[in-house]
């Protein structure tokens, strides 16, 4: 007996020591005294506790509404963390309904001379800003903030859009020590849960019963002797089950961005509740998009999408004219694509639905992504080709992981030729069939057939985009060089060149090129195919450049690739969590001939190198050959894949380290005595 009570005491004691009070207002001195977040000392702030409660409430006049209650307790360690004391919440409005923000309660806590001092956020310091037609924003910043402060705020967002629950972020840019997220949904609503990110999130599932009370008014007419009418009130009620998901999580690390990442939000831990169907008693089931298949179908059936492909009359005459002398499918595709690309001007509105509609856009010669590409599809179809729309999510929009209509924000065209799908986007003046803007290269898209069925197709370029550079160089005794350069830009390299430089005057372009290459002086500049799509851009010029070699004593030292040497490793971080995104596979090849000055001999040239990344993902070839007074240099870097998983990071980093090391190795010339 005695022993037992001892245990109880000890347990109680331990429990008390570890107990943190997560009720609003119960901020402890320990929390205020905390100097750093021990698990990540670089954190400028951390969320000590977070509670998000999503639930449904029945309102007799309007039905169910969704209530999101948020409570967060945040610790500010230093001034860098002050940004986390400004909080904003976006509120959606549409179809005459709008979300509302209420019950905000917020305090800042500081420790002053051992005492906890509370400062309340005043209502007059809360701001509401109209962001756009669809969104308002509530914003506030905490009063009396200092290094070491703890802040607490709680508020409620009420939404009439009961079929939609906002994606819940489970990871912030600062660490979260402990969080509890509870989502309670009445049985009438069926949601599917989708998880994103690299952290595991398993909910505890429970149920609870609920009751809806109705009061119904009945009016009965009198009969017989008693005339007049009588009103009675009857109360009825319905019992229903609420399904509850509870996520209890601890020590969520901060999400940190890294270079060469597609879009960091793709890796943020979050849960998405995706509506499947709604079924009320005595009502038919109302189904919502549940699979990518049905998402695509819903989008396709919209008047601003599928119908737009149906309109044909507005271009009929022009198309007939265009196709007069076109016989093969290939010719037709090229002709129609070029026609739309030339005629139409992209107004920068991105979206999968048409903006002003294809007809109006055609007339104005300008339009949104959907205006232009759905028009392209319609014309291809009219020409008897098998063309279909492909829904895409742009890089900014993130990789679409769960089927929602918002998952896709862009549409391109696909046409079948010899059993292959050719992808096209006519919004950019320099795209080509199977060459899409880089913003649209985002893993995969969804092609929708005429019958509304759809399937996923990859949108990752596989073809190598090459760049080839040929140089003929004369090295002078003082270390200056002169010579000729010829450079060929192919495929994506040509596309990027055109987008970047075609609207710039040649003088500006050359000024920039000269200044970016340490004072290169260019003459006899010539460029071919700047506007001829499908062909490589060929640039050639004569140049002079000072001090490309070090003349030290009776020796000359120079880097074989001259001003083209890769002298910095792009991968500087020690380790990496996310995939490395090169956007497209690429190769850089240099062939350089150096003629050394008279009176000098070659006393050293760097040796050959031939290294590869695992699985043929990349290769570096480097070779120097000396012959009489000439040195021939060949350097070739191939990156055969657009995207590398994080597990390949170390190999990539080593690969580049070797390239830099090799390319900076010097040639040594010495004076003939």
């Amino acid at each position: 007996m005695i022993k037992k009570s001892c245990y109880v005491l000890i347990l109680l004691f331990i429990y008390n020591v570890n107990a943190q009070d997560y009720k609003f207002g119960k901020v402890s001195k320990e929390e205020l005294k905390e100097k750093i977040y021990t698990k990540d000392s670089s954190a400028s702030a951390s969320v000590l506790y977070r509670d998000v409660d999503v639930s449904y409430r029945y309102i007799q006049s309007s039905g169910f509404e969704v209530i999101k209650e948020v409570f967060e307790r945040v610790k500010i360690y230093n001034k860098e963390g002050f940004d986390y004391a400004t909080i904003s919440e976006k509120l959606y409005q549409g179809n005459g309904d709008s979300e509302s923000f209420s019950s905000l309660k917020a305090y800042t806590y500081n420790l002053e001379e051992g005492e906890i001092i509370k400062t309340k956020l005043k209502n007059s310091d809360i701001f509401k800003e109209e962001l756009s037609k669809y969104y308002d924003e509530e914003k506030f910043t905490m009063p009396n903030l200092k290094e070491g402060s703890v802040i607490e705020y709680q508020y409620k967002v009420t939404s009439p859009f009961s079929y939609s629950i906002d994606e819940i972020e489970m990871q912030y840019d600062i660490p979260i020590k402990k969080q509890k997220v509870k989502v309670s949904i009445p049985e009438y609503y069926s949601f599917k849960t989708n998880m994103k990110g690299y952290l595991s999130m398993i909910p505890k599932k429970t149920t609870k019963s609920g009751k809806i009370n109705f009061s119904t008014k009945n009016r009965s007419s009198g009969s017989g002797l008693r005339s007049g009418s009588q009103t009675t009130f009857s109360n009825s009620s319905i019992d229903y089950i609420t399904n509850i998901h509870t996520y209890d999580m601890q020590d969520m690390p901060a999400l940190k961005d890294e270079p060469y990442t597609n879009n960091i939000d793709n890796y943020r831990a979050s849960i998405n509740y995706e509506i499947q169907f709604v079924k009320f008693p005595n009502n038919p089931t109302k189904s919502y998009a549940t699979t990518w298949e049905s998402v695509a179908k819903t989008i396709y059936e919209s008047t601003n999408f599928g119908n737009q492909i149906g309109y044909r009359k507005y271009f009929k005459k022009d198309l007939e004219q265009l196709l007069l002398d076109k016989n093969t499918d290939e010719e037709k595709i090229t002709a129609i694509f070029s026609f739309v690309q030339d005629r139409m001007n992209f107004n920068s509105y991105i979206g999968k639905y048409t903006d002003e509609g294809v007809k109006e856009a055609y007339k104005k010669q300008s339009g949104s992504v959907a205006d232009i590409n759905l028009m392209l599809i319609a014309m291809l179809k009219e020409a008897g080709l098998k063309a279909n729309p492909v829904l895409v999510s742009t890089r900014d929009n993130g990789v679409p992981l769960f089927p929602t209509r918002e998952g896709y924000n862009y549409v391109i065209a696909s046409v079948e030729l010899n059993g292959q799908n050719i992808l096209m986007d006519a919004c950019n003046k320099y795209t080509e069939p199977n060459l899409l803007p880089t913003s649209a290269l985002n893993w995969s898209g969804r092609i929708i057939k005429e019958d509304g069925s759809s399937e996923s197709i990859p949108i990752v370029p596989e073809k190598l985009s090459k760049k080839e550079t040929f140089l003929n160089v004369n090295l002078l005794e003082n270390g200056d060089i002169s010579g000729k350069q010829r450079e060929r830009y192919m495929f994506y390299n040509a596309y990027l060149f055109r987008n970047k430089n075609n609207s710039v005057s040649e003088d500006d372009y050359l000024d920039k090129k000269e200044n970016n290459n340490g004072g290169l002086e260019i003459s006899n500049y010539n460029v071919k195919n700047k506007k001829v799509l499908g062909k490589p851009i060929v640039e050639s010029f004569d140049f002079e450049l000072e001090s490309q070699a070090d003349v030290i004593g009776d020796k000359i030292y120079m880097s074989p690739l001259l001003f083209h040497a890769e002298d910095e490793n792009p991968f500087k971080l020690e380790k990496r969590n996310y995939p490395v995104d090169f956007v497209f596979p690429r190769s850089n090849r240099y062939v350089i001939n150096i003629t050394i000055p008279e009176g000098y001999k070659i006393s050293y040239i760097p040796g050959t190198m031939n290294i590869a990344l695992p699985d043929k993902m990349g290769r570096f070839t480097y070779q120097l050959v000396a012959k009489n007074n000439q040195i021939h240099v060949l350097s070739d870097v191939k990156i055969n894949r657009a995207i590398f998983p994080a597990t390949d990071y170390f190999a990539l980093k080593e690969f580049y380290k070797n390239i830099v090391e090799k390319q900076t190795e010097q040639i040594v010339l010495s004076k003939i005595k």
Partner: protein, 633 residues
């Protein structure tokens, strides 16, 4: 009045104007992205608190680079109304192709990107060009009760833009309302001017484009422009009569600052306790500034007159945040509570030094700081910074005329300047090169003046950011690893010290049995300004600096020195550069010392290429290599 508006047709420019591209004078088409066909502003001053102006701007856009003209954005607020807004687009032949009405504009919050909240809004429209060239015409009328900010007039709106016709007209009911005009850079302009009892008119024709050039004066310093002021003006309901800067100070005291400094007795008691036993005003100010820095932060909220009037000290004391005005006024209030005089000060902040216009008092500037008079001098503090040392402004507000609001009215005073050698950096390092080419080093850097300002905030950054910073700072060292970092910040002397140890593999590159490395490992300056085939602007170096470097380099055991770079010393009007190398064979150590001194100043455009050659020599010498050769065993 109303009715009249209705009778005026929706749009009424251009009937007699030819907007076809053919009609543009050939001269105006060289080196330009856009030709302004007509830039017209007609201002009507109805009263000291009523102003209406009509803008009509017609621009032919020649290429994509001038596409900013396809955007029309007009801002407004409670005091300002936009009327008769319309945009017309014409093709190359001058035929109308599109008409955009006010209701097609989007209405946005004019969020400035740093304010928590602002009540300014704007109407916005973007036209999508279908071919080039095209001509876009914008017309609207603004009616406002705010006459404090009279719209300025720029004869050239932008770089690489030529102007066919520029027309400015100001009408006033009586001479009492006639505004003062200040002209800037009008020398090379073909100008017609008239000035009478009812109107002021400026007309200019065929203005050739100017181009941006690096290290040149700022746009506003070279471009022909006009500034206006009304001596009697109205700012969000506050009336003013201001003849000079002295009056401006009086008015600000009265209209914007009066009673804003009142504090709760409790706060006054607290701040008095802070300085108990301290007599010297400067010491007191130091303590109060430190208190403000530790207890407040910068948050901007701009509502109504709040753009000029600080939130009250009581309010700031409660929430412990404010914008530049609120925090300056709060600090002023705290200082007043401990009997230290200080003056609210208006300034144009930014890396570029911009003076308030001497002898032309009007509401100007974009920032507020505090001036503390002490022994015939001023000490300046920026209360929006939580980290700057007391009395140190840095390059955001240094060396420029600011309006100091004293009880005796306003005064224009130049803020503290940081001159040439005061902006110093001293780097001393010991490093070794290993047989495998690796480098190990210990570096000490001390900075002062503007160089201090560039550096000291690194201390407040996260570990990752600090590491990234040094990897960028020493991007000449590949595979750099930061081993240890120590900072010390002497806020009294305003000197920052960084002690860093580093290592990196393959710093020296090998060529057979030789090894080469750049001896200037830690202060490699490769800056060479752009080359211009035909430089048009003078050369301007806003701030000078002095770098001194001493490195002691231990060479690897089995290598001996084969070649050292030549000792060099260059001296010219821009400054001085020197580098020397000394090898001690017994210890196999090289002593490297370097000095780079750049003077601030303005030089003629002909001097630009000399300066460029100077920088080229510096860059070349900073890259100079030492060659080692393996000793045969």
């Amino acid at each position: 009045m109303r009715l009249l508006y209705l009778l005026i047709p929706f749009f009424s420019i251009s009937q007699d104007l030819d907007f076809s591209i053919k009609s543009i004078d050939e001269k105006l088409l060289n080196d330009t992205n856009a030709v302004v066909r007509l830039d017209e502003m007609k201002i009507n001053i109805l009263a000291s608190d009523r102003l209406a102006y009509t803008i009509c701007k017609v621009v032919t856009v020649l290429n994509k680079k001038a596409d900013e003209n396809s955007i029309t954005s007009v801002s407004y607020d409670k005091e300002t109304k936009i009327r008769d807004l319309g945009v017309f687009v014409y093709n190359a032949e001058g035929g109308e192709i599109e008409k955009i009405k006010k209701k097609e504009f989007k209405d946005y919050s004019a969020a400035d990107g740093f304010s928590l909240y602002t009540d300014n809004r704007m109407l916005y429209h973007k036209y999508t060009p279908i071919t080039y060239p095209y001509t876009i015409a914008v017309k609207y009328t603004i009616e406002t009760t705010d006459t404090a900010f009279f719209p300025p007039w720029y004869f050239i709106p932008n770089y690489l833009t030529s102007i066919e016709k520029s027309y400015l007209e100001i009408r006033y009911q009586d001479l009492d309302l006639k505004p003062d005009v200040k002209e800037f850079n009008l020398d090379n302009l073909l100008l017609e001017k008239s000035d009478d009892a009812n109107s002021i008119i400026y007309k200019a024709k065929n203005i050739l484009p100017i181009r941006f050039e690096t290290l040149g004066p700022s746009f506003r310093d070279i471009v022909p422009r006009l500034a206006f002021r009304m001596k009697k003006f109205n700012l969000k309901g506050e009336e003013a009569h201001v003849e000079d800067w002295r009056d401006m100070g009086f008015w600000m005291n009265e209209a914007l600052l009066k009673n804003r400094e009142i504090l709760e007795p409790e706060t006054i008691k607290q701040v008095k306790e802070l300085v108990v036993g301290v007599d010297d005003n400067l010491e007191k100010a130091r303590i109060v500034y430190k208190y403000v820095q530790e207890n407040t932060r910068y948050i901007s909220v701009q509502i109504g007159i709040g753009g000029w009037k600080p939130i009250s000290a009581i309010e700031v004391d409660k929430v412990k945040y404010g914008d530049c005005k609120g925090l300056s006024n709060y600090t002023y209030a705290l200082l007043k509570a401990v009997d230290v005089p200080s003056y609210y000060t208006i300034i144009s902040a930014g890396k570029r030094k911009v003076d308030l216009d001497k002898d032309f008092s009007r509401l100007q500037g974009n920032h507020a700081i505090l001036a503390i008079p002490y022994k015939d001098d001023y000490y300046w503090i920026d209360c929006t910074s939580q980290i700057h040392p007391f009395g140190f402004l840095g390059d955001f507000t240094d060396d420029r005329l600011a309006l100091v609001v004293t009880p005796e009215g306003g005064k224009l005073v130049k803020t503290v300047a940081y001159l040439n050698e005061e902006n110093y950096q001293k780097t001393s390092a010991k490093y070794s090169i290993e047989e495998n080419g690796s480098i190990y080093g210990e570096v000490k850097m001390q900075t002062g003046g503007i160089q201090y300002d560039n550096r000291f905030s690194i201390e407040t950054k996260s570990k990752e950011d600090i590491t990234t910073y040094y990897k960028d700072y020493w991007d000449n060292i590949n595979n750099l690893q930061i081993e240890n970092i120590e900072f010390s910040n002497d806020t009294q002397e305003v000197m920052f010290e960084e002690n860093i140890s580093i290592k990196a593999t393959d710093y020296a590159s090998k060529s057979g049995n030789r090894m080469l490395f750049e001896i200037n490992a830690f202060n490699n300056n490769s800056f060479v300004p752009d080359r211009y085939r035909n430089r048009k602007m003078p050369l301007e170096i806003q701030r000078g600096y002095l770098d001194k470097d001493e490195f002691k380099v231990q060479l690897p055991k089995d290598y001996k020195l084969e070649a050292l770079p030549q000792t060099i010393k260059i001296e010219n009007e821009f400054g001085q550069y020197s580098a020397s190398y000394e090898h001690d064979a017994s210890t196999n150590i090289i002593f490297y010392s370097r000095e780079l001194f750049i003077k601030s100043g303005r030089y003629s455009k002909e001097k630009y290429s000399n300066y460029r050659s100077f920088r080229k020599s510096i860059a070349k010498n900073d890259n100079a290599k030492v060659v080692l050769i393996e000793e045969s065993k």
